[in-house]
């Protein structure tokens, strides 16, 4: 009762306090000068990885390619070439599936470049560059988000394979190790597309150039056919193709009989790519805009 009396008696004062409130709130918020300890490079990278995941939440269509393409390739090639190349689709699938996994991850990695190309032109990168964070973290974080795509796409391929009759002789452990190797390889290859994404003007250009590289890289390899059936010069090319070594290692991990040499050769590529294209990407990134 007392309260209502007061409000009717002093309406102007009440109004004033309402209009002053946001401003006082503003001042209080600004006055906080708390500065938490600088987080490390890893924490910065994880934060940018989280940003990449949020993007998928808002544009789920971008996952469509990643999910549908591998299903299409697995089913198509198994039934198209199986009878001709291996006598039966079941035998061919045993041979083809690890290769299709490699192809899927290699194809998916080009989205790193396409996505970055659109993303980097936005003003928010000005803010990132003006912040006291680990400089490569926006790039590495985005690639970390892509690792999730590789894993998702790979799992789908394995599941489709299981449905069609593929049986990994090394069981779950072999498959999991293969997934790890695929992610490491995809991460290394991602640097190449990051560089392309930084150099080229449009996402379309990144796409076109990337396909020009990726088509021969995947087809001139041991993914689809045994290289022994190829002419000599092609066999030489296949032997130098990093994808070939990746596929050999994957087959070894999933079907058994993997050698240290195979693993070493398949890991050499991502290490070299990161060492060469990582610093190059950072140079280009700093100069961008």
């Amino acid at each position: 009762m007392n309260q209502s009396n007061e409000t009717t008696m002093n309406p102007p004062l009440n109004q004033e306090s309402v209009s002053l409130e946001p401003s006082a709130n503003l001042v209080r918020t600004i006055a906080v000068r708390e500065r938490p300890a600088n987080p490390g490079a890893w924490s910065n990278t994880v934060a940018f990885g989280w940003r990449a995941l949020l993007k998928i939440k808002y544009v789920p269509e971008q996952m469509f390619d990643v999910l549908v393409t591998p299903i299409m390739f697995t089913v198509m090639f198994t039934y198209l070439f199986g009878g001709a190349l291996a006598g039966s689709t079941a035998d061919y699938l045993q041979f083809l599936l690890p290769g299709i996994l490699a192809q899927t991850v290699v194809f998916t990695s080009l989205y790193t470049g396409v996505t970055l190309n659109t993303d980097i032109s936005k003003g928010v990168y000005d803010r990132f560059k003006s912040m006291p964070i680990w400089a490569p973290s926006p790039l590495v974080g985005a690639m970390l988000g892509d690792v999730l795509r590789y894993t998702g796409a790979s799992i789908i391929v394995v599941l489709i394979g299981l449905v069609l009759g593929y049986r990994p002789e090394q069981g779950l452990v072999g498959v999991l190790l293969a997934l790890v190797l695929l992610n490491v390889f995809g991460f290394g290859l991602g640097w190449v597309f990051t560089v392309l994404g930084l150099i080229l003007r449009t996402p379309g250009a990144v796409m076109t150039i990337s396909w020009l590289v990726l088509m021969p890289m995947t087809f001139v390899s041991n993914i689809y056919v045994d290289p022994a059936t190829m002419p000599d010069f092609l066999q030489t090319l296949v032997a130098f193709n990093p994808v070939t070594h990746l596929v050999s290692a994957l087959r070894g991990l999933m079907s058994g009989g993997v050698t240290l040499g195979q693993l070493g050769l398949s890991l050499l590529t991502p290490v070299i790519l990161t060492a060469v294209f990582g610093p190059l990407a950072m140079r280009l990134y700093r100069r961008k805009r």
Binding site: N25, L26, V27, R35, A37, P39, S43, D126, R127, S130
Partner: protein, 329 residues
């Protein structure tokens, strides 16, 4: 020594070339700590390039600058840990919601999980954005976007904030909100460097103003000093009869002791004055001499008029002449 410590920004002959274009061509700048400093200039004058250099985004071709006592090239990381930048084009992620943007920045600056969310919500409430917190920024209005952009610069309150054209394209209400934020920031001890195309904005907020054109500072001083060289206001006089214009020009110029310019319109005159009460008194002389007024307006000199006074030519690239008749007071 002590005077150096009082400077938030100290730039010497800062220069940036893009090919043959000299975007910034030997700029000196001294910005006192805790003040608002205005960089005034038309589009393409080099304001954004200057800010990008000072915010460590762009290395200068020559010259040097210290921001909060640290060199912008050799100690860039120290500079970055104490500044914030709100760019001319939204420096937030348009695809994410306002809240997600602030949480991301809070996490990057070291707030952990729950603390990052708390700081984001605190900022959203303070900037009157709580209702729009979970909406993507691409669906924000211009004013909301600007406020979020500034909030994003205050996740950790910086010692120095760069605001690159913070009110360009905003409606008057949103502009006033931004001005309130700037005033609140300075009151809390943050130094503000803002660029603007509007003399009024620099006049309202800035302690000192540098006018730049073609990458060069063409005038520097307090708003009062600049106005002394320009005249604090402009009066447009519209007559009924074109024949009376010469007589009116004579009366006004005798009374105000300044030049009165005829306009292309044969019934119009423009006067730059430094004392508004004197100007209105001069205006009152016209009816006494039998001159019929069709109308008049008084207002701040526009940027074009400042440039005309300082350089003897309109700013380039030429824009449609802006009139401030609306602000007749």
């Amino acid at each position: 020594m002590s005077s150096q410590h009082e400077l938030a920004i100290q730039a010497r002959q800062l220069t940036k070339h893009f090919g043959t274009t000299k975007a910034v061509n030997g700029v000196d700048l001294n910005v006192r700590r805790g003040s608002v400093y205005g960089v005034l200039g038309p589009n393409g004058a080099g304001k954004t390039t200057l800010v990008r250099m000072l915010a460590t985004l762009l290395p200068p071709n020559s010259g040097q600058a210290k921001v909060l006592g640290h060199d912008i090239v050799t100690e860039a990381h120290h500079v970055r840990s104490r500044i914030s930048l709100t760019g001319q084009f939204a420096s937030v992620d348009e695809d994410l919601s306002g809240r997600e943007n602030l949480i991301l920045l809070a996490r990057l600056l070291g707030f952990k999980g729950r603390a990052a969310k708390a700081r984001a919500d605190e900022l959203l409430a303070a900037f009157d954005l709580a209702d729009a917190a979970n909406r993507q920024i691409k669906n924000y209005s211009g004013g909301m976007r600007r406020r979020l952009d500034i909030a994003a610069s205050l996740v950790v309150t910086p010692d120095l904030i760069f605001l690159d054209e913070p009110t360009t394209g905003l409606d008057p209400r949103s502009r006033n909100q931004v001005w309130d934020i700037v005033r609140a920031l300075v009151a809390e001890g943050t130094t503000v460097l803002l660029t603007t195309q509007y003399l009024e904005e620099a006049d309202q907020l800035a302690e000192r103003i540098a006018v730049i054109d073609h990458g060069v500072v063409i005038a520097e001083g307090t708003s009062r000093e600049l106005k002394a060289s320009v005249g604090s206001g402009v009066m447009h006089v519209q007559l009924q009869e074109p024949e009376q214009r010469e007589q009116a020009r004579q009366i006004l110029s005798d009374y105000l002791l300044t030049a009165v310019h005829p306009e292309p319109d044969p019934t119009a005159l423009t006067v730059q004055y430094s004392d508004s009460s004197l100007a209105t008194a001069a205006l009152a002389e016209l009816p006494k001499a039998g001159i019929v007024l069709a109308g008049f307006s008084m207002g701040q000199p526009s940027l074009d008029e400042v440039f005309l006074a300082l350089t003897g030519r309109p700013p380039e690239p030429t824009r449609a002449a802006k009139d401030v008749e609306g602000a007749a007071q």
